[in-house]
């Protein structure tokens, strides 16, 4: 599934520009997968998808992989703990992770000495978040159908004494 998403992101969605915003289907999918399957699965999915995406555009190998690994891990942790039973968890995760992803990418590019157009990224941040939120609804529904949510173990807490 992630292979297909990488292909669609690189050849179709990467060129979409609506009100200066650029939707990121790959990030949305990794976040949805992580919410349903947990931190480790999310990190591995993020790493694999990111590495494939880096390869497909002759990019700096490991760049997208690093960002998506962290995005997958953090979202997974959120899904495993506070966000597991909350209906708004996917939308909240996407909004927060999109902002963090964009800023981290900007900082990382700056550290690598690559073009880091901060003004452009901050102008496009809000539309990008909105576009990603729009994508989240169908992507989360589809991911939920394909990947059955992990059944979280309910731990019984017994008070001693």
């Amino acid at each position: 599934m992630l292979f297909l998403v990488v292909v669609i992101q690189l050849s179709v969605i990467a060129n979409v520009d609506i009100l200066s915003g650029h939707p990121n289907l790959l990030l949305v999918t990794v976040v949805c997968v992580s919410l349903l399957r947990g931190a480790v699965f999310g990190a591995v999915a993020g790493f694999s998808a990111g590495l494939l995406a880096d390869t497909g555009v002759f990019g700096t190998l490991g760049f997208t992989a690093l960002l998506l690994t962290l995005a997958g891990y953090w979202t997974g942790r959120y899904g495993e703990t506070t966000g597991r039973d909350r209906a708004h968890a996917p939308l909240l995760s996407i909004a927060v992770i999109t902002v963090l992803y964009q800023i981290s990418a900007l900082v990382l590019r700056y550290l690598l000495g690559q073009a880091a157009p901060a003004h452009h990224i901050f102008v496009a941040l809000l539309p990008t978040v909105l576009l990603n939120l729009i994508l989240t609804v169908p992507v989360y529904a589809l991911t939920r159908r394909l990947l059955r949510p992990r059944e979280w173990v309910t731990r019984e807490v017994r008070l001693l004494g």
Partner: protein
Amino acid sequence: MVGGLVLLSLILITFSFRASSTGTLHQVESAGVTVLRPFEVAAERVARPFRDVYGYFRGLVHAKQQNGRLRLQVNELRQQALQGKSAQEQNREFRAQLHFIDSPLFPRDYSPVNTRIISWSGEFDQQVVIAAGSDQGIKEDTPIVTQDGLVGRVTDVTGSAAHVTLLTDESSAVPARDQKTGATGLVRHGEGEGSLLLDYVPKESDVREGDVIVTAGTQSKRYPSLFPGAIPIGVVTSVGQSDTALYKQIQINPYVDFSGLDPVTALITHKRSPKVP
């Protein structure tokens, strides 16, 4: 586990950053591109009708206001074309009489390789991947154009695909000249998305709004240009200068619509460019 993946990513970034364009990592990337290529071509074909519909409606918004302006331009250009044709004839005759030896000329000495774009880099880079590579004769620094004008140049190549850095990328710089007055400068990315600047044009040079900017070709033997001369780049939209700045501030509206690129043409030449001794 997660720490290991993060570490692996950082190692990959380090190696990728330091690796040469022919090293092992580059071969891994080439293999990845080769695997992805058929899928990207298929996805691009499926998405094309939808993209065309979107492009059609987006184009309609600007079409009406462009129409009047373009009609006036057509009349002006028709006259210029007639004058240009006779000047070209004269030029050819004079060159023949002088037995003039020249570097490759555009478009005469170039053969086109028409191809499509199969993937786009993200919003940070103005770079694309095209579905033709060294198997089709494309090399590093091969100029890429559309029928409207200059698009960019090849910065990395594998057998079946090539990485193109667009003119609007921060790392791009093209020697250019004003077709009318001959004033030269360097075309670089502008402030807005898809806009360009003609930089390093001395204040005393004559550049006016509406002037056409084309590639300059090689101007100095110390710095041979990667692009042949006379490829259209764009039209001057504003010219400014301040007392403190050393050069004019010239904004260019590119002829090429960088958001709707496709198909593109790689210019291959077999004529050798003169090398500086």
